[in-house]
Amino acid sequence: MIKTSTGIAALALAASVTSAANAQLVTTKQLSLPMAVAIATTAVETCKSQGYNVSVHVIGNMGEVLVALRGDNTGPHTMENSMRKALASRGQRVPSGVFAENVAKTPNAGALRLGNMIPARGALPIKVGNDTIGAAGASGAPGGDKDEACVKSGIDKIAGDLK
């Protein structure tokens, strides 16, 4: 009896999942390799021209690393930090600095318990319209605001292609 009702429930669930009339594949846009490279190298160059060596990460829609660059003479943490800033920005769909502000008053914020998100300024989401398709993060400049400015110049470089 129990087995039968469980079976019926499973059938009902399966039917509800598969019977959606307008079932279709999900279409998403993704950063291309040249775009990701352009963002990263531009960010490094911009910071370099201002006298700062930074490491940079550009990540994709699923948080996967697309480009990682270790800056000359940067501290060893800058690679991890730039990745984690980018991941926070992708995950929250906002600049990592805004995430930092948002959680500053709630030290027990759940998001801080997730792996790899770090509340530190220096990463920006990469968007097509309202959709976040990735993020770029920098670490190494003396201040997250300066990291962020370099990231912005990187994203601005390919802004025309984000459509």
Partner: protein, 167 residues
């Protein structure tokens, strides 16, 4: 032997040992050359471009003297394994100071080779060490082409691009 004697003997030994360490007249910091980010980026992009022209989408890693990632580039058109694989190939090549394909040959007849039990070592062709003379200062690894030999050709093209600066 009393406690005191033991302690005295220990002290004498410790002092001798310590003076042995600090005494060399020519003690000095190590100076070495490392890849700049500009060179590492040039190697990586040239390798990707070279493979692209041959019709292959590849991911690439350039690692430095300590096996640390200097540049990592995932090719969205390549398989998800290629990012990790290119890193492991490069790390292997840097570690053993030889082409990762040569390492693969070396351990090919010996599946119990201890090196294979080290983290991040992979017996697969497609990475080359970046040398200054006899010194390996890094490596470049490629993954994604249909065959490690084809990966390796692109790695070579990347190194060739900056060969003039490797001095």
């Amino acid at each position: 032997m009393s406690n005191m004697t033991c302690r005295a003997a220990g002290l004498t030994f410790a002092m001798t040992f310590a003076s042995g360490l600090v005494v060399p007249a020519n003690a000095q910091v190590l100076v070495h050359k490392d890849l700049s980010l500009a060179m590492a980026t040039s190697i990586a992009l040239t390798a990707i471009e070279n493979c692209k022209q041959a019709g292959y989408n590849v991911s690439v890693h350039v690692v430095g003297r300590n096996g640390e990632t200097l540049v990592g580039i995932r090719n969205p058109a390549a398989g998800p394994n290629t990012f990790e694989n290119s890193l492991k190939k490069a790390y292997t090549s840097r570690t053993f100071r030889i082409a990762s394909g040569k390492f693969a040959e070396n351990v090919g007849q010996n599946p119990a080779a201890a090196q294979l039990m080290l983290a991040n070592i992979v017996a697969a062709r497609g990475a080359l060490p970046i040398m200054i003379g006899q010194e390996a200062i890094g490596a470049v690894g490629i993954s994604g082409a249909p065959g490690g030999d084809k990966d390796e050709v692109c790695a070579q093209a990347g190194i060739d691009k900056v060969a003039g600066d490797l001095k």
